[in-house]
Symmetry: D2
Subunit: 343 residues, 4 copies
C-alpha cells in the first residue's frame, strides 16, 4: 500500500478517543446529547472560547453542519455569500440549495473574502423584492486552498458584517489547522468573539466523526436543537460525539494534533522551496499545492497517493498534499528524499 | 445510579466493534464509504438477504435514513402512508414534511398496517390534481408498540402495494428484534424479497451509530448516493459505519444481540403475566408495556428508570420497559424480584 | 345546459370589474403591484378594517395565499394546526407540506376550532426537540362546511393564541359570505383586530382572480413581498388585481355580492326546511348541505348540477349546493319548485 | 404623464381579450382549467406547433412557470444550467433554489448558450456523488438581452442535450418577439420539435396574465398537473387564462402583436443607427440598448421613461428601451424627433 497524502481523514481517530470509548462503554447514559460526556465537552469548549453565553451543539460532519446552520438561520428569501472555492458551492451536492437558499459566489485568488468583495454584491441586490437578500457570509478557516484569516482580516470582515446586518459564519472543518499555523495571530477566543456562529471540526483533526457548532449570537441560539433533529443529525448515542470532543478538548489535544499536521506539511514545503519549487498558493496549514513537472509527479505517484490538482502548462501541474494528525515522520522523510534525489 | 429500562441506546456498543475499531485504527482507507470495511459489510448483508442485486448504503441514524429514503423516492406531489404511531409522524420533528412530503395517518391498535387500512385512503385521494398522491407505505418492524409483522401479513401487504403501484418501505430500526421474536416466522431474506426498500438498524442493536439502507427495487437504486451526500449523511470516515456493520454481520452477532434483548424482556413479561398483569399490547420483542398500579410503579421507580407511557385509569398506568443487547441478568432478576415481592 | 350549484366560481366576474378593466386598459402603469389601482385598493381595504398600520398584498388564489403566508411566517421546525376539513389539509395537493411544514389536524363536527381543541395538541408536543412546534392556527371563515365564527368565538380563540404565542391566520376565501350571514355578529374590522393575518377572498365573490392578504401583526409584515415574488405570485400586471379589489371595495360591493349569494342559499334552505328536510350542518352562508332521498336527488340532477357530498344511509345522501354573487332568482325558484312539487 | 419605454407590461391587454371576457362572462363553466375556452386554446396551440401529443398547461406568470417546470422535472440532486443574464438567476428572488435546485451560471456575451459552453460544466461535475448533477439547460428566446436563437443554433443545442441526457427548456416569456424578429428563421413548430418543454408568454405580449407551458417530451408530461396545483398556480377560474390564449391564438394575433412591438423598436434602432449610435447588443426584438451620451439621456428622460441600463464610461451609458404590442406611432415618432434634433 502506498502512503496517502490525499486527505486528512484516511485514518481512524486519536488513541485517546478509542481509550475513552472503551472506558465508558457500558455506562448507561441519557440519549440525544444529554449524556455526561457531551455536557463536559460543551463546558470545555465554552471555557476555551471564554464565552459562557455561547451555545454548543455536536453534529457528525461538515456538510451536515453547514446545511443545518444555514437553513436554521436564514429566512426563505435570504441567501449566502461564499468565496468561489467554498465547500458549500462545490462539494456538497447542492445541500444548501436543497434547503431552499441560493449561494452567491465571489471570485477570489486565495479563497478568502474581504469587505470590498461583498460591497458589489450588496449593491447588485437592491431590486426589492425581485432578488434574493444577501444575509449570511460564509467563510472557511483554513480555507479550501489552505490559506488562513489573520486577526485583522477577521476583525474587518466582522465589523463590515455588523454594519450591514449580515451574519458571519465560519466553516471550521480545519479550524485547528488554521489557528495553529505558524503565522496565525488568530485565537479560538477571537474567532468566537468575531463570528455569529462557527464550528470546530473534529473529523479532519483526529475524531472519527464530529463537528462542534458554536453559536455566539444569542438571536441565533433560540430553538436551534429542533433543526438538528429535523435534519436527521441528532444521534441517539450522542455520547459518541461527546466522548470525542471531551478528549480532544482536554489539555489542548485538539490544537496539538492540528499543529502536528501543519508541521509535517511545512517540512515538505520547506524541502520543496529549497529546491526552488513554486506553489499555487502560499499556505502554512496542512494543505500544500506545489507545482511540479510531470516526470516528478509520475515518480512521486509510484510511492504516494495524492491528487493532481490543476494543470498549469504542458509540463507542470500543481498537486495537492494533505497531512494529518497521524502523518508520521517516515512518510514525510521518504517523500522529501525523493524530492531531493530527483531535483 | 438506577438501572435504566428507558431505551435500547443507553450503553455504548458491543465490545467486538470497539476491538475492530482499535485493530484497524491506523490503516489508511478511502473516504466516503469506499473503505474495505464498508465494502465487506455490504457484501455480508447482500449474502444474508440472498440478493446480489440489492444495493446497500450505510447512514448514521433512523430519522436520517427515513428522510433520505422518502425524499429520494417520491416526486414532489406524492405522499407517505403511515400507521398513527409511526416514528416519522411523531418523533422526527417533521423531518419528512421538511423535505416536502405529507404523511397520511392510519389509526391502528397494534401499530401495523393491513391492505384494508389503505383502501379508504386510496379511495379518498382521487380528486386529481387537488390532492396529494399516496405512493409509499411506511411500516416499522418491530413497530413503535413492540409488535411484529408475520410472513403472511407482509406478503399480503407487499402484494397489495404492487397491485396499487405503491412502494413498500420498512423502517428496521428494531428489525433485529422483530425477526428474532420467538413467534416470528419472518426472515431477513423474506423482508428483502417483499419490500422495495428497508433498513437494518444498528443504533438500537449494539452499534454506536448506523443503519444499513437496503434497496431491492432497481428503479429506486439509481443515483441514490447523491441523496445521501446532499442530506449531509455521507461520513468522510465511512469506515466507522463499515467496521460496525462488518462486525455485526459476522456470525450473526446482529441477531444474537437482538435475541438477547428480546429474551430479557420476555423474562420480565413472563414474571408479570404469572402475576396476572395485563399489557397494553401483546409484544414478543424488547419493548413491553405492562399495566401496573400506581403504588407498584412508585416502588419500581425507586430502583429503575423507565417511562410511564399511558394513564389507563386513576389507579393504573402502562409503563414502557425496553431491554437491550447489553441488559444483564442482574437488572432483570432484581426487577422480577420486586414484582414478585410486591404482587 | 343545466344550471350549476357546484361552486361559486363558475361564472366570470361582476360587470363593474370588466367595465373598469376596459376603462383603464391603455393607461400605462408601473408593474408588480405599484400601479395606482392596487394602491387605491389597499387604501380602501385599510379604511374598511380601520387599521392604517396593517399591510395589504394582493395575490391570485387561495392555495397560493395559504402557502405564501404559512411558509413566510413559520420557521422550519414550526407547524400548523387546522380543523380536519381545512382546505390546506385536503384540497391543496400538499402545498403546505411542500414548503416544509407539517399540519396537525383537529377533528371537529362543524369545521371550527375552539381553544379546548388546541390544548391537547400543545400538551402532546412538548418532547423538545423531537417533535414539531405548533405555532400557527389556521381557521376558515366561513368554513369548508359553510359554518361561521361569531365574534365571541373569535375573541376567545384570539386571546388563547396570544397567551400561547400562537399566530392566528384566517383563510377568508369566503370571508364575505361569513361576515354577511344573517346571524353573524362579526365585522371585518374585528377580524383584523383579532387575527395576526387573514385574507379577503375575491375569486369566490365576484372577481376573476384575487385574494387580499392583510397582515395586522407588524412582526409578520417585514420583507413579506419577497415571499410573494419567490413563490411566483407577483403579477407583472398587478393592475389586474388592483382594479378588481378597487371595484369590489367601492360602496361595499364586496359585501353586497356575498349577501346576495347567502340570500339565494337561504331561500332554498328555507324551502327545504319547510318540507322538514334535515341538513348535515346548520349553515347561514352560501353553502348548504341538505339530506335528500335518492329519488329526489335523481330528479334534481336532471335539472341542476351539484355534488353529492356524503352518503348518509341506503336511502339518503347529503348534497352540497353553492350559490354565488351571480346566482339569479330563476334558478333558485326553479329549484324550489321542484322541491315543493316532489315533497 | 411621460410615455414609458420601461417594459412591455405597462398597459392592460389587447381589446379582443376584453371583448371576449365580456362576451362569455356569465356563461357557467367548469373550474380549474376544464372550461371550454381553455380546451379551445390548448387545441389551437397544439395545431400551431403541429404536435397533437404535446400537452399544454396555462399558468399566470413567468417566475411561476419557471419554478413549476424546473421543480417538476428535476430530482432533488439535479441542477439547472443557465446563461448568466438568465431571468431565473437574477430576478426571481431565488425561486428556483427555493424549490431545492442549484443553478449553474455560464458567462456569455449575448445571453445565449452554445454546446461548447456546457462541456466544461459537465466535465467539472463528475465527482459523484459530491456534486450536483447538471440535468436541465434553461434558455430564453428572445433572451434577457434582446438577442435570439436561430434555427441552426437551437438544432445544435438540442442535439447536444439529447446526446448528454440533458433536458432543454425554453423560457418563452418573449417567444413571440423572438420568432417574429425580422432576421429569425426559427418557427414555433421547430421550437416544439427541438425542446423538451417550453412556454409561450402572454403577459409581455398582449395578455393580462398568462403563460402557456407546452410539454413535448412525453416522459415529462406524467402527472404534471399536480405540480401546478401544489405550487398554487391552478386558477379556480381557469377561463381567465383560457379566454386570453384562445383570443391570442386566433388568426395569429399573438404573432402580429409581437411583430408590431419589434417593428416599433426597429424604427427607433434605425433612427439611432443613422446617427451613428452604437448598441450594447445587436438586437432585432422589442428590446434595444443604445449607448447615448449623458446629455442626450437627460433630454430624453424629460419626455420618456426608460431604464439607464449600464454605465459605459464617464460620458456614455446604455439605456434600455422596450416597446410593446400597444406602443403607438406617436410615442415612437416623438422619440425619433428628439434624437434627430439632438444629434
Amino acid at each position: 500500500m502506498k502512503f496517502s497524502f490525499k486527505n486528512d481523514y484516511s485514518e481512524g481517530c486519536h488513541p485517546n478517543i478509542l481509550q475513552a470509548l472503551l472506558q465508558y462503554n457500558l455506562d448507561q447514559q441519557a440519549g440525544y446529547g444529554e449524556d455526561e460526556y457531551s455536557l463536559k465537552a460543551k463546558t470545555l469548549i465554552k471555557e476555551k472560547i471564554n464565552n459562557p453565553h455561547s451555545e454548543v451543539f455536536l453534529v457528525s460532519g461538515g456538510t451536515q453542519a453547514n446545511l443545518i446552520v444555514i437553513s436554521a438561520i436564514l429566512k426563505p428569501y435570504q441567501c449566502v455569500i461564499s468565496a468561489a472555492p467554498g465547500h458549500i458551492l462545490n462539494n456538497e451536492t447542492g445541500a444548501i440549495e436543497a434547503t431552499g437558499h441560493k449561494i452567491l459566489s465571489i471570485e477570489t485568488e486565495d479563497g478568502k473574502i474581504k469587505p470590498s468583495d461583498i460591497i458589489p454584491i450588496l449593491e447588485g441586490h437592491r431590486n426589492v423584492p425581485h432578488q434574493v437578500m444577501p444575509k449570511l457570509v460564509y467563510i472557511s478557516n483554513s480555507t479550501e486552498l489552505g490559506t488562513i484569516y489573520q486577526a485583522k482580516e477577521l476583525e474587518e470582515l466582522s465589523a463590515f458584517c455588523k454594519e450591514n446586518k449580515l451574519y458571519l459564519f465560519m466553516d471550521g472543518a480545519r479550524l485547528g489547522h488554521g489557528l495553529t499555523a505558524e503565522i496565525s495571530d488568530l485565537t479560538l477566543e477571537k474567532v468566537a468573539a468575531l463570528t455569529d456562529i462557527f464550528y470546530l471540526g473534529g473529523t479532519k483533526n483526529g475524531a472519527l466523526i464530529g463537528e462542534a457548532i458554536i453559536i455566539n449570537n444569542p438571536v441565533l441560539q433560540e430553538d436551534f436543537a429542533f433543526n438538528i433533529k429535523q435534519k436527521g443529525a441528532l444521534l441517539a448515542k450522542g455520547r459518541l460525539l461527546g466522548i470525542q470532543f471531551m478528549e480532544l478538548m482536554k489539555d489542548d489535544l485538539y490544537f496539538d494534533l492540528a499543529r502536528h499536521a501543519n508541521q509535517q506539511a511545512m517540512k515538505i514545503k520547506n524541502a520543496l522551496q529549497n529546491k526552488g519549487i513554486a506553489f499555487l498558493s502560499d499556505t502554512y496549514t496542512n494543505q500544500i499545492f506545489p507545482i511540479l513537472n510531470n516526470h516528478l509527479i509520475e515518480v512521486l505517484s509510484e510511492n504516494f497517493e495524492f491528487y493532481v490538482w490543476k494543470k498549469v502548462d504542458e509540463n507542470l501541474s500543481a498537486i495537492r498534499l494533505i497531512t494529518s494528525w497521524s502523518t508520521g515522520d517516515e512518510a514525510v522523510n521518504q517523500f522529501i528524499e525523493i524530492i531531493e534525489r530527483e531535483l
